[in-house]
């Protein structure tokens, strides 16, 4: 191989390796939508739907009892009080229940909050149907205002047999600090 040949061969290989590097950098960003799609299908990350579910004509399964626990927390930059009125109820799949969460703005200025839900175990998320939820919209609280917020839900009777307990967790975030919502 002459010097010129070697230079050309080096340049060719360099270009190919460059493509790999750029490709892998792009791959990381491609992973983000891929991960979301994958989680939507598998329910891996416990995200529940952000739209009201329609649950007409579901036969309640009174022979089965599932424990639902509620957890409420606020993001560290959120000076609110936030808690469920009941922390734990036993439900029959297919039956609709209504529970309340209480939140109070501890500051003296108006604030807008957004609650983000998450269900554990993750694979149960797809079977947790909410027909009405304060998490569907942003919540505006005047300074010092406190009120109850409703959640109406049903556990789908198709919930896998080995799930006996599930936990629904809400975290309240300060809406002003969120300029962008992915969906």
């Amino acid at each position: 191989m002459t010097q010129a040949d070697l230079k050309a061969a080096n340049r060719r290989l360099l270009k190919r390796l460059g493509f790999v590097i750029v490709g892998m950098f792009g791959f990381v960003y491609a992973l983000v939508p891929l991960y979301n799609v994958f989680c939507d299908i598998t329910g891996l990350n416990g995200k529940t739907s952000n739209e009201a579910a329609r649950v007409a004509n579901v036969q309640p399964d009174l022979s089965r009892t599932v424990v639902v626990e509620f957890i409420a927390s606020v993001n560290e930059s959120m000076p609110w009080e936030f808690r469920p009125k009941v922390s734990r109820i036993e439900v029959h799949p297919g039956k609709t229940y209504r529970v309340n969460f209480y939140a109070r703005n501890l500051t003296d200025r108006a604030m807008v909050g957004q609650a983000i839900p998450s269900v554990t175990p993750g694979q149960a998320a797809a079977y947790f149907k909410k027909t009405e939820c304060f998490c569907f919209t942003e919540q505006r609280f005047e300074g010092g205002e406190g009120r109850d917020m409703p959640l109406v839900f049903m556990v789908d009777p198709a919930l896998p047999e080995d799930v006996h307990e599930l936990a629904l967790s809400y975290t309240f975030f300060d809406k002003q600090k969120l300029t962008r919502l992915n969906r």
């Binding site: 590097i21 750029v22 960003y29 969120l178």
Partner: protein
């Protein structure tokens, strides 16, 4: 850079003075720079470890505040991984790969200069964060959000220094690949290459595949913090767990980047002192390639506890255990190479045999951690700390030290002090076990990592571990002394240096001329 000068200097010996080191494009000079830089960072990272062990000598808070303690564990990891072990391997690659494959230099010498000289800037920036408002990064080297996003002013500097380290090692990896693929001497077929060259070729491919992934992940952290993106912010529709997936997709290949070249080094040293060719050369090559491939599909074993479906836990558990097969092939090949060999135990061989024994201990604790149901107990405890220090200190670092003793006579033309070398090995081997072995027990008993305080029942084992740590740290000053002494003088080394040494680098004089293999040797 001054291209005219470097081109002219190509035909002379070299420029004098300090600027020689700044402008150099010579693979031997750059190899030396990398190795000295790695040694310096090894001392810096080691000093941080001493602070950690001093604080953990007793329960309660003694010397440092918890925030600083956590920034010590974080910085110790970043400095040792990206500043000591990786540059040391790149330095060895620079020195040895051209000489081993009969090439005159690395394929892209100017890029080689650049990839080294980025590093001092990267680490100056990283270490300077310790003096910034809010302190250095303290969320662990894994940089998990949302915790890492609470880092103070240091945050963007940490991210940019990681970008620089990534660019540096990508350029180093490109250079290794192009050199090995295009610059082998006639007759040096792929399956005739020394194993150090093979393992580095595979390592280089791992590097270009995963360093961009790390760069992407930390860039997302940066934009989440400063530009209101929500990659890892649950409030904006993101998911912090996704960071862990992306990070470990980089992180697991990364741990093989830190060990594969060590496999190569040990595969060079053991045949020399067993005076037998390496047992199962081609199986070694295939085993290395299999380990590299498997490293891409096991990442979630670092995050068994995030709440994965059972199928995921099982897949990552079995895939992880599968890695024990090619690794076992390697260990048995090294043992078979020694079997009925005419062995002598000079310092490099002591380090190589120490590597085989203690790396295997680390491998076995890795297998224990791979078992998903029990990992829930071991997760984030000192058991994990003990595991990865066995594979990284008695694995990677011991291999680098063995390599230093093995090739230092070739590089400098002087023999090192064998008596001191053996002393260094035995002190290191004893104290490293006093340092890390008790941490297995601490972890099994439930002591969590990255916490400056602990409950009093852990005191004895922590004190034993700290004493081992201080002694191991002091012992490494002996290593620095031996290396400096050998560079400055010593008995003349022969060209072959070791009776059983084979390979092109041993056909050159000791020290090799500034430009070697200007005309390619013929390999039969």
């Amino acid at each position: 850079m001054n291209t005219a000068t470097t081109h002219d200097a190509h035909h002379e010996e070299h420029q004098g003075g300090l600027l020689r080191w700044v402008f150099t494009t010579n693979h031997k000079d750059i190899g030396t720079l990398y190795l000295l830089f790695a040694l310096l960072m090894f001392i810096v990272g080691g000093a941080m470890a001493m602070i950690i062990r001093a604080e953990l000598f007793q329960p309660g808070l003694q010397f440092v505040d918890p925030q600083f303690f956590n920034s010590m564990t974080t910085m110790h990891a970043l400095v040792m991984i990206f500043g000591a072990v990786m540059p040391a391997f790149v330095g060895l690659a620079n020195w040895l790969i051209p000489m081993m494959i009969g090439a005159p230099d690395m394929a892209l010498p100017r890029m080689n200069n650049w990839s080294f000289w980025i590093l001092p800037f990267a680490f100056t920036m990283l270490l300077s964060t310790l003096f910034m408002e809010g302190g250095g990064p303290a969320g662990g080297w894994t940089l998990y959000p949302p915790l890492v996003l609470q880092t103070g002013n240091a945050f963007p500097f940490v991210i940019f220094s990681i970008h620089l380290m990534g660019i540096s090692s990508i350029m180093g990896a490109i250079n290794v690949i192009v050199t090995i693929v295009n610059m082998r001497a006639p007759g040096m077929t792929l399956m005739k290459m020394p194993l150090f060259v093979w393992t580095w070729l595979i390592t280089a491919y791992l590097l270009i595949a995963v360093m961009p992934v790390l760069a992407g992940a930390v860039t997302m952290l940066l934009t989440d913090r400063f530009f209101d993106t929500s990659f890892f912010n649950a409030a904006g529709g993101g998911d912090p767990v996704m960071f862990q997936h992306i990070f470990w997709f980089f992180g697991h290949p990364e741990v093989y980047i830190l060990i594969l070249p060590a496999f190569g080094i040990v595969s060079q040293i053991i045949p020399t002192f067993a005076r037998k060719p390496l047992f199962g050369y081609s199986s070694m090559v295939y085993a290395t390639a299999s380990i590299a491939f498997l490293s891409f599909i096991v990442w979630a074993h670092h995050m068994f506890t995030v709440g994965m479906p059972l199928a995921g836990e099982l897949f990552f558990m079995y895939a992880t255990m599968l890695i024990a097969v090619p690794t076992g092939v390697k260990v048995f090949n090294w043992v078979s190479t020694m079997w009925k060999g005419a062995m002598t135990f000079e310092t490099p061989m002591l380090f190589a045999v120490g590597f085989v024994v203690m790396f295997t201990i680390g491998g076995f604790s890795g297998l224990m951690l791979a078992i998903a149901p029990v990992d829930f107990q071991y997760h984030d405890t000192y058991f994990v700390v003990a595991h990865f220090h066995y594979v990284l200190v008695t694995g990677a670092v011991f291999a680098i030290m063995g390599a230093t003793y093995y090739w230092l006579p070739k590089w400098t033309g002087h023999m090192y002090d064998e008596r001191l070398g053996k002393l260094h090995f035995w002190l290191s081997a004893i104290f490293v076990n006093i340092l890390f072995f008790p941490q297995h027990f601490l972890g099994l008993a439930g002591m969590p990592r990255r916490i400056p305080d602990y409950s009093i029942q852990f005191t004895e084992f922590n004190q034993i571990s700290s004493i081992g740590g201080f002694a191991f740290g002091l012992t490494q000053l002996l290593f620095v002394y031996i290396v400096i002494k050998t560079i400055r003088g010593g008995a003349r080394a022969t060209d072959r240096v070791w009776e059983g040494a084979h390979g092109l680098e041993w056909t050159l004089p000791s020290p090799p001329p500034y430009h070697s293999f200007q005309t390619a040797p013929e390999i039969k």
